[in-house]
Amino acid sequence: MPAVSKGDGMRGLAVFISDIRNCKSKEAEIKRINKELANIRSKFKGDKALDGYSKKKYVCKLLFIFLLGHDIDFGHMEAVNLLSSNKYTEKQIGYLFISVLVNSNSELIRLINNAIKNDLSSRNPTFMCLALHCIANVGSREMAEAFAGEIPRILVAGDTMDSVKQSAALCLLRLYKTCPDLVLMGEWTSRVVHLLNDQHMGVVTAAISLITCLSQKNPDEFKTCVSLAVSRLSRIVSSASTDLQDYTYYFVPAPWLSCKLLRLLQCYPPPEDGAVKGRLVECLETILNKAQEPPKSKKVQHSNAKNAILFEAIALIIHYDSEPNLLVRACNQLGQFLQHRETNLRYLALESMCTLASSEFSHEAVKTHIETVINALKTERDVSVRQRAADLLYAMCDRSNAKQIVAEMLSYLETADYSIREEMVLKVAILAEKYAVDYSWYVDTILNLIRIAGDYVSEEVWYRVIQIVINRDDVQGYAAKTVFEALQAPACHENMVKVGGYILGEFGNLIAGDPRSSPLVQFNLLHSKFHLCSVPTRALLLSAYIKFINLFPETKSTIQEVLRCDSQIRNSDVELQQRAVEYLKLSSIASTDVLATVLEEMPPFPERESSILAKLKKKKGPGAVSVELEDGKREGGELNGGGERGDTPAMSASNASTPSPSADLLGLRPAPAVGSAPPSVGSLLVDVFSEGPAAASAGVNDDGFLSGRDLEQPPETSDALLAEGPGDSDSAPPPAASEEPAPPLPEAEDLLNKFVCKNNGVLFENQLLQIGIKSEYRQNLGRMYLFYGNKTSVQFVSFSTAVSCPGELPTQLNLQTKTVEPLIEGGAQVQQVVNIECLTDFIDAPLLNIKFRYGGALQNITLKLPVTINKFFQPTEMVSQEFFQRWKQLSQPQQEAQKIFKSGHGIDTEVVKAKLLGLGTALLENVDPNPENFVCAGVIQTKGQQVGCLLRLEPNAQAQMYRLTLRSSKDTVSKRICDLLSEQF
């Protein structure tokens, strides 16, 4: 090995590094490193002590090997030894190794801390700096614990060298950032703030970073820094470029310090002290003035430094937002940059202008640059700058220039980068809506948007255009015409088909007069797109077709033909198939009147916040929202969207609590709330449609057609149609369309049974209506009070009820009702009295039919009135002997009815007793020899005759069975009561 010169060259290290670099493969490199490591190990292990130079060299090699990605597990001790060396280079390498390699939980940390402490307390500034740098580089919690108390003292001590102060300030900043809880400024605060007055600019620059960070945490403690910062700034700004010597950078005095000062000032509101404020404004003006001066150097560093200060100053001006004069000047200054050669400057100018545009003072000034910005959008080569230009255009848009800006953005959209297209689309959609004076322009714009960038038009955008078209009568005809024309293009985007389908389905009639857009032409046009569309669009188109049948009866046969063809009615997609089947049936069965009701025009949507805006906010993150809010604040009620914002939470709340009645075609069954619907198909659709007309219109009206709701819950609807009809589901007529009383509910029988043993309670309840009952009976007469409660907030109209007696009941039962008011207000209750007279014993129960319109939809409910023969029981008390005498008298087989049945609810004596009493008979104690058994006696009072009735109930607790035996003088009575009673246990 050649003799190593003892200079600082470290030839061995250089040789090793070049060896590594010359390695052909990874394997060779690993071999070389292994060899070197073995060498170093043997050197460190060797008996004779190494001198500082060799130690340094080997530690350097280890460091290099570590940086190549190999693990180093020795040499730490040698590095720590180097720390105590008096040679700068050796100490430096030692610190370097330690800051790179030593982890905080090492045992060596105590030794290291000791060495650092020694260096910190030494008077040698370079050693102090090395120690401080090491602390900052490691920056661990342990370091902070050990030295957080020491460093502030060094920082503010009078005799500390300037260079050490700088290091101390930055080191403290680092420690503060790792563990703010350990760095307590307290007593040092004012002295740290006064570092701003330090003679040495370097110290000020370092200190200001620390102060900025600290003052962000507790602005109040550092409030005094504002005036100091302003005076410092004014001294720098007003100084001639040569005054600051070392701190003048290409003729700009202390640019970094200026920027940091301006940034510190941005942490605080404008100074309240007039003098300070005046001085600051003066400074800012000087900075703006200087920007106008011709450059003192052609070097790019000069202009960079100048512009850096300028942009910070503008940021401060925008932050204060109180000096109109300055704001306008800043805006003009930025305007100059808009056409600057430097791409970065253009970007920064556009970005700053975006914030300027939201200030009321400078908004107008920003608007003057519209041409330049539009030009930037078109000609700029850098995509990020174009993005900023688009942002700025969006920010500067108001009613006066909306048309121009939207047109420009639309034309740009055709060539825009794919990455920003979706955002652009949203912006165009929002601007078009927000500033639309005339809605035909709006419709044109959005349709253009779909045409140009259909793929990037999100659902929200086309939902919104439909909402607006439906809500504005004046634009409907125009929209229909425009959509029709747009659809004639040979290839149009699916979103266009969706809008077209919806709008023509709703308002196709408005353009049907023109022979060029006759109903059949419209239909054929839509249907020509059908097969190219996805399933949701097809579903929408099917709905449009059924609407067509209503709008244009002449197209009925054509459309039915289409619905009937196998590709629809046997479609593999269950949603399409269901729609085809349902619509086909609906169109062939329902009369035109019914169709007209069912397929009525959609009611207007409630005004609310544009979902597009919400989406844009989501896209841009919280920052954009605040801009948006400021925007709203500034524009106030002038905006179309302005008034709509307030009611959003209320609307959504009411939506959440109002269950949608429309989920069930008939409104007969309790429907699940919309919110709980499976979000499978239409989670997006919910957003727009769910809260729409749900509260305002009921049932079939909107459910039958179009809206996303039946997309959301196909299972419910299909059940409603297919399962609820009586008899065959094949021939099920659409029950909603019938004016006839509906057949009784399937659960009516159960409801009836509920009332066999009690007289009061709730007979029926669904989403809309609650029916309560109160009844009393004496002898063969009875009176029943029916209470109809409206559970919704909307009134029921044409409310009518009818009590009818099917079969031969009229001869057995005499019922009289009073008519009720045809109108029930929301939340109100009306009462109806039914008088009942029992002529003779009967079996069937009378029917109660209720009809009313809720939100235009007819509701038709039929129930069984809980009038049963046992209601006319008169209890009879008798003793055991008498009972069994009578029991024997009624011994003919037809007089007795017997049933053995299983207990439904378990055998509980008290419950059974209560039920038997509720039946109306007398419960006879101590009659039956078996105390477990129940015996009852009673007389049924009818107008024509009295029927004596004896009852015996024998429970078998073991088998959970009952045997019920009834004997009465009339066979039908025995049987009926036996039947009724057996259901009760």
Partner: protein, 439 residues
């Protein structure tokens, strides 16, 4: 199907790039380089999936061969092809090195065109390829039209691996049984796993279209013959059973008639001309372990380690093992090593973190020993040394599996030489594969 094939040097520079299918773009070349060759972590898996594209690679010294595909191919097929590709290249220009590839890249492209067609492997038989892909260039007067059509009919014919009309003055035949024995043994001498993978390589210089029949002491074959043969006594059957070996699985060169092997267990074939691998096999039972390694490791305090290793040769004293090398791993914090050995040379190789002990020759039934003192540097790492196994390399002149060639008969009915006229040479070489003993 293979979509493309790339060859890189150790730096990841592309030497050969051949794309067979459109679904492989140009960026695939870079993807492999970035994600495998230059990967931060060493990539161990020979199959990598990058952006829905599968890369299969093998490495030969510093050269990477990568086959690329977007389809779901049979990985074994791809690797078999890559190995074949290596064999073909070795047969054409010797060692696969950057230098050789650069010098022969026209030839390699030519070969790639021939052995892979639209991603489907074709004839990769070196002998056949050499008839129409030559290194010297085709001289037109040598290849008349008939000759060219003969090549076509031969390549596409039933026996694609041999052309007709070969004539030798001396009919010679070389048979090499090459085995590599793999072992993992516990410190106490218990065999944890052992297997032998062997190859029968044949070099044939025979005239005409000879029919060959190869016989060895495979247990099944012998049992079958024992049963079939009426004359063998019980004793003879036993003795042959003793010598017979159980072959776990074997694969044959395409020239072997598999149907005959399936029915009669006889290996008969028309051999290709020149060198080729007749069969490959694997055995796991009754393996003769040529060497036994007995390690003794003692840790003396934190800074010292004493190692003693004894090796014993376990074969006939008349045989000589060669190229013996024992590799004793040393801990990562080794700072100095002293070695004493009776035989051979031993040296601490710091770059490999191992003591390497080399013995040139060693006869059977002998033993030799090495002892070493290893000094350690105390580290602050608490990790214990993992004690990697001691590995060994050697070469012995017998087959550790016990395989014996019983006969190789040559029949050439059309030409006038018989089995006796053919000069046959048989050689056995047993090499170490991964031959390790834990310590």
């Amino acid at each position: 199907m293979i979509g493309g094939l790339f060859i890189y040097n150790h730096k990841g520079e592309v030497l050969i790039s051949r794309v067979y299918r459109d679904d492989i773009g140009r960026n695939a070349v870079d993807a492999f380089r970035v994600n495998v060759i230059h990967a931060r972590q060493q990539v161990r898996s020979p199959v990598n999936n990058i952006a829905r594209t599968s890369f299969f690679h093998v490495k030969r010294s510093n050269i990477w061969l990568a086959a690329v595909t977007k389809q779901n191919v049979n990985a074994a097929m791809v690797f078999e092809f890559l190995y074949k590709m290596c064999d073909v290249m070795t047969a054409y220009f010797g060692k696969i090195s950057e230098e050789n590839i650069k010098n022969n890249f026209v030839l390699i492209y030519e070969l790639l065109d021939e052995i892979l067609d639209f991603g489907y492997p074709q004839n990769s038989e070196t002998g056949a390829l050499k008839t129409f892909i030559t290194q010297q260039g085709i001289k037109s007067q040598h290849h008349t039209k008939e000759e060219q059509s003969q090549i076509t009919s031969q390549v596409t014919g039933q026996i694609g691996w041999r052309r007709e009309g070969i004539k030798y003055r001396r009919n010679e035949l070389f048979l090499d049984v090459l085995e590599s024995v793999n072992l993992l043994m516990s410190p106490q001498g218990q065999v944890l796993s052992a297997h032998v993978s062997g190859r029968v390589v044949m070099k044939s210089y025979l005239s005409g279209m000879p029919e060959c029949k190869f016989g060895m002491n495979d247990k099944i074959i012998i049992d079958k013959q024992g049963k079939g043969g009426t004359t063998t006594t019980d004793e003879a059957g036993k003795s042959s059973g003793k010598q017979a070996i159980a072959i776990d699985d074997c694969t044959f060169h395409q020239c072997v008639r598999l149907s005959k092997f399936d029915t009669e267990r006889s290996i008969s074939f028309i051999p290709p001309d020149g060198e080729y691998e007749l069969m490959r096999y694997r055995t796991t039972k009754d393996i003769i372990l040529p060497f036994r390694v007995i390690p003794l490791v003692r840790e003396v305090g934190r800074t010292k380690l004493e190692v003693k290793v004894v090796i014993k040769s376990n074969f006939k004293p008349s045989l000589l093992a060669q190229k013996i090398e024992v590799r004793i791993p040393t801990p990562l914090n080794t700072s100095g090593v002293q070695v004493i050995c009776m035989k051979g040379k031993a040296k601490y190789k710091a770059s490999e973190n191992a003591i390497v002990w080399k013995i040139k020759r060693m006869a059977g039934m002998k033993e030799s020993q090495i002892s070493a003192e290893i000094e350690l540097l105390p580290t602050n790492d608490k990790k214990k040394w993992a004690r990697p196994p001691i590995s060994m390399n050697f070469e012995v002149p017998f087959a550790p599996s016990g395989l014996k060639v019983r006969y190789l008969k040559v029949f050439e009915p059309k030409l006038n030489y018989s089995d006796h006229d053919v000069i046959k040479w048989v050689r056995y070489i047993g090499r170490s594969g991964i031959y390790e003993t834990r310590c």
